[in-house]
Amino acid sequence: MNGVLIVWEQRQLFVNGLLNTISLVTVAAAVAILFGALFAVPLVNGGKVARRAGRGVVDFFRSVPFLLLAYIVYYGLPTVGLRLPAWWAGLLTLILYNSAYMAEIFRSAWLNLPQEQTETGRAFGFAGMGLYRWIIFPQVALASAPVVGNQLIIMIKDTAFLMIITVPEITFAANFVNANYFVPFAPFALAVLLYWGLCVLVELGVHRVGAAAAARRHA
Amino acid sequence: MREAEVSAISVRGLSKVYGQLEVLRNVAFDVAAGTTVCVLGPSGSGKSTLLRCINWLEEPTTGAIFLHGEPVGYLNSDDGGRVRMTERQLASMRSRMGMVFQHFNLWPHLTVLGNVSEAPIRVQKRPRSEVEAEARALLQRMGLAEKAEVFPHVLSGGQKQRVAIARALAIKPQVLLFDEPTSALDPEIVGDILSVMRGLSAEGLTMVVVTHEMSFAREAADRIIFLDEGRVTETAAPGDFFANPRTERAKRFLARYGADMSNRGAA
């Protein structure tokens, strides 16, 4: 099969593409989770103004189309002095976009926590930063694992938009091979399989965490 | 069989097997028209399954069910064999039997009036104005006239069951099947439903009632069928059954549940 041979010859492109996709998602996820956790605190415990403003910001980022945000970061920011290479522009877009989503996910999980464990923590003298770090956030993390996993899958798929701002990820590689060798099926089929594989891996990971969380809940 | 002697319900050789488990074994009995039969027995004896086989909600493994002499589920073919009923034919038989469930099973997206009117309008194809007028009258009888336009989720358990009874009556059934109608209700409400059921029984409706309420069985039933591990071990008039149970299992059963009666007093 012509297409398969050409894809094999061009495998370096796909390997690079896969590595870019994975690296973008991994770094962006780590940073977005951190920012989301930090931002969730004022969303839950802040004063009325802070909470309202916070929700406004979160709602904005959840309503903006990802591609438009990527365009603004890559093509728009240079006009105010910030010129980023494509990969970094993609990373920044992913971080901005997903920090808002993570903040909302954590806020929601936090508000739905059963009170007993937090009260027990307080009874044992945990307060302030310590209470968050040792009592609240571990619970929030376990409770929100499936939704975070879902968001990771969305992130993996959103990286494909970045090909439009010239980031050499998986879809970029497939499109390049097709555009230059006119063999559409093999490269795009490979791209579909690669995304499918990544999503399956994330779902397996989430399943593991979910099982651990369920086991813990019966303690 | 002469016309006058045809039972409202006849069950012959009914067996039901789930995989390895024999839930009903060779059950046979008749329900005479206008009478009330109570099916009693320990948990797991197959009472609900028996009731659900009568209207083929569960398909019998072997055996035959007759509604006023007409077979349910199978038709007799000309060469003496049996052929399964089509879905439409089975639905038609079912629409002649009303059923009241333990958990009411009302349809939440329809109002109370909608629940009661749905089957007469859609299944029996009767005109809406006529059906709704009758439905309102039935609700009035159940003391729920002012609830006609509400949705079931705001009602209490007792109210829901009364709507369910109205729904079953609305199709003018030849037979009413009750599957533990009071088991999901608060004790104070049980009495209300039982008195509604006693009223229906006194009016001469043919009823088959699966229940744990011994007071009802004693006062309203014309016959008791005692089901144990899937077998009919005793059938008798209530007076005979409660005073002189013939089998060991029945005696033990009554010893356990008989305490119910002295605690409840006259219900």
């Binding site: 709602d59 603004i72 097709n178 559409p184 795009f188 999503c199 | 909600l57 038609s92 299944v123």
Partner: protein
């Protein structure tokens, strides 16, 4: 920014929204069809639908639209960009909708179907009078959520040359050497469209909870 430029962006936004809506109108019933195939457990079709839904749900819309646009012609089907875009959006959203419908169908309480059968309703009548009226109401919040997601992802069709909102803004920016204003306007405009959808969704959820007592 000139009026003509603004109009170009508005047109682009309208094109995007229209493409989205077309995808939704086809994708919602198509998703129901797929869900019914799985619910009815027709063995061969069941496996096909399961694999199909799994693959489509993991594929980004950008990749899917490129696949549809370039692979279909090799099978003899000539496709213009707009039909290819609508078909892709429809297929993509149908896969997600399939899971939404399927969840509601699987969760549907057996007791209500028992009651329907006991009163003489055929399977078809039970589905249309009892199951479907509740299933679509229960699924509505999730379905509208998916519509919002589709609305936000539709700009992906720019990649096969359709002049939707991002391309429109891009053109203006290229012509004026000043990309930030058109992108900013496009963002604000399109985000407003999405926000309207989201508000609608919240209203729907509240209405369902109050009228029918559903917890969503």
């Amino acid at each position: 920014m000139s009026l003509a430029a603004l109009l170009t962006i508005v047109t682009g936004a309208a094109v995007t929204a229209l493409l989205s809506l077309s995808g939704i109108v086809i994708g919602v019933p198509l998703g129901l069809l797929l869900a019914l195939v799985r619910w009815a457990r027709l063995s061969f079709l069941n496996a096909f639908v399961t694999v199909f839904v799994s693959l489509v749900r993991s594929t980004p819309i950008v990749t899917l639209v490129l696949f549809v646009f370039f692979v279909l012609p090799t099978l003899g089907l000539e496709v213009d960009p707009v039909p290819a875009a609508v078909a892709t959006l429809a297929v993509n959203t149908s896969a997600f909708n399939c899971e939404i419908w399927r969840g509601a169908l699987m969760d549907f309480p057996r007791e209500q179907r028992d009651a329907a059968r006991a009163f003489g309703m055929t399977r078809a009548m039970t589905f249309w009078r009892i199951v479907f009226p509740q299933v679509w109401r229960r699924s509505l919040p999730a379905l509208v959520n998916e519509m919002t997601t589709l609305l936000k992802a539709t700009p992906a069709v720019a990649v096969i040359g359709i002049v939707e909102v991002t391309r429109a803004a891009s053109r203006i920016g290229a012509a004026t050497y000043d990309p930030l204003p058109p992108f900013a306007v496009a963002t604000v405009l399109y985000t407003l469209v999405v926000l309207i959808f989201v508000q609608g969704q919240r209203r729907v959820e509240r209405h369902m909870a109050i009228k029918y007592g559903y917890q969503t």
